[in-house]
Amino acid sequence: MANVDKEMLTQFLLRMGDNTLILGHRVSEWCGHAPVLEEDIALANTALDLIGQTQLWLGYAAEVMDDGKTADDIAFLRDAWDFRNLLLLELPNGDFGQTLMRQFLFDAYQSILLPRLMKSSDQAIAEIAEKASKEAAYHVERSAETVVGLGDGTEESHKRMQAALDRLWPYVGEMFASDDVDAAMAAAGVAPDPASLREEYDALIGKVLSEATLTIPDSDFAHKGGRNGKTHTEHLGHLLTQMQWLQRAYPGATW
């Protein structure tokens, strides 16, 4: 473990694990309902990778917290205010276009962040990042390709993808809103300051979205409150109601 405040490190790990948990859950809602069989397979595969990453991030968070809790306890027995995921990821799926646009905006972020984390001063984080970065590289390739295909497809698919980008854009800024947890991680060499990733991110999404003939909204307004847990959207509570139901209704059972 890196030489860093345990409470801060836990917050960082929850951010990583809650992002993949909540997005993995949202993507899994598509199972059996996708536009074409190949997409059913691809979405299930994406959800599977994300939940697998969640096990690693939250498993390490549990180890750092060292209070007898497991990754499952963290996932299934916390209330909304303890979640540290980006607001973007808890938003309802919307149509397939909105789901894929959200996936792309997040995959692009992960594909830049995870390779940096492979150089983390914390060995456990570096190992998780090594595995996850391979998956993220594949995810971003796929989601970018779909965003381009639909953005530059028919008039209707273009219109829907632009609407998806307009709807989600105000949630992108939160990825780069650094706070004291990030400062502590950067100082200890655990993780880069997210603000430092923005330029590379803008270049990556700019290239893909322009190929998709889509226009990035001219606004830098950003909804915030997920990463620090201060204000989630109304949607998270409903997601947790479903996800946590069995564990809450039958406490103490093993499954």
Binding site: C31, G32, L37, G52, D72, F96, G153, R160, M243, W255
Partner: protein
């Protein structure tokens, strides 16, 4: 068994050619897509493989019903992987059907309009978490009973698809049984869920093999063609004999007062399912028929713009490439 009541199609081909064809099948030589085959054989196979493929696709729904409520991260992953495998099975099977001269879109349209069927079992609900265990244990268990012999079926592409599918299905069955073990050894509430799942899914699982041989009019031709490898009753008996000791091991009670070991036949005597219920389900009156078809139709209709968009893009790219050359 994901194909039920497959009617064999009449054939009006040249008797000499038919004789030659039958001789090859009797010699266990596989029929390949480019080989001559009787029209009846082709049409019957399209119906059977199509029904099997549709069952994999519709079969995602009752299990998908619990993905967002899976109780642990590991259970969620296992279930996601399973449903993903099923979609993959659908894909191989549609590909096998396409070698017989029918397109996947065409088969899909027939499913969505209700013209083609899928297995009756997927018209039953998954109401508690133990149902996910019971589906793996009983439904995949019954499917394997039928699919293992189909690895030797006469049509090459179908046989090869079955070999791949069987490997994954037996894995699914073990995972299902593992959920049942956890539930049966768990709290009182969990045991109650496990018994409830078995009570509801036992007879629908027996129905998966289709009606009794005495009422199955299409068996003879399909068996001669090696499209069907065993009779419905043979497979059902094998399934009961395999499953009863497993239920005993779990401490669960099979909901059949007449279930007794018959020393003379070396198998269990058991009650038949209510066949009038089976025929009701086939007619569209099962508990979930309407929901299942509505869900598939909605996915297809809502996805039209996506399919069109991706096709249009691929077309633009092709045109640009041609222009550059």
């Amino acid at each position: 068994m994901y194909a039920q009541m497959i009617k064999s199609e009449a054939t009006t081909d040249d008797p000499e050619k038919l004789k030659e064809f039958q001789a090859r099948i009797d010699d266990d030589i596989k029929v390949e897509p480019r080989d001559w085959m009787p029209e009846g054989y082709r049409k019957t196979l399209i119906r059977q493989i199509g029904q099997h493929a549709h069952s994999e696709i519709v079969g995602q729904l009752p299990e998908g019903n619990w993905i967002t409520r899976a109780p642990t991260l590991e259970r969620k992953m296992i279930l996601l992987a399973k449903v993903q495998d099923e979609a993959g099975h659908g894909l191989y099977l549609y590909a096998a059907a396409e070698t017989l001269g029918v397109s996947r879109d065409d088969l899909t349209e027939q499913l969505l309009s209700g013209k083609m069927k899928y297995s009756s079992i997927f018209n039953y609900a998954t109401l508690n978490w133990a149902d996910i265990g019971a589906v793996g244990w009983l439904v995949d268990g019954a499917a394997i009973m039928n699919q293992v012999p189909l690895q030797r079926t006469s049509y090459g592409p179908y046989s090869r698809a079955m070999i791949r599918i069987c490997k994954e299905e037996s894995f699914h069955q073990r995972q299902g049984y593992d959920i049942m073990m956890k539930m049966a050894q768990g709290t009182e509430a969990q045991k109650k869920m496990a018994q409830d799942a078995l009570n509801r899914l036992w007879y629908p699982s027996l129905m998966m093999f289709g009606p009794s041989d005495a009422d199955s009019v299409h068996s003879t031709q399909n068996m001669a063609w090696k499209i069907k490898m065993n009779t419905n009753d043979e497979l059902r008996q094998k399934f009961v004999d395999q499953t009863v000791p497993q239920a005993e091991y779990l401490g669960l009670t099979i909901p059949d007062e007449n279930l007794t070991w018959n020393e003379k036949k070396g198998g269990y005597d058991y009650s038949d399912p209510d066949w009038s219920e089976f025929f009701d389900v086939l007619k569209g009156n099962g508990p979930c028929n309407v929901d299942r078809l509505e869900a598939r139709n909605k996915a297809w209709d809502d996805g039209a713009w996506v399919r069109d968009g991706l096709m249009a893009h691929a077309e633009k790219k092709r045109a640009a490439k041609t222009a550059a050359e």
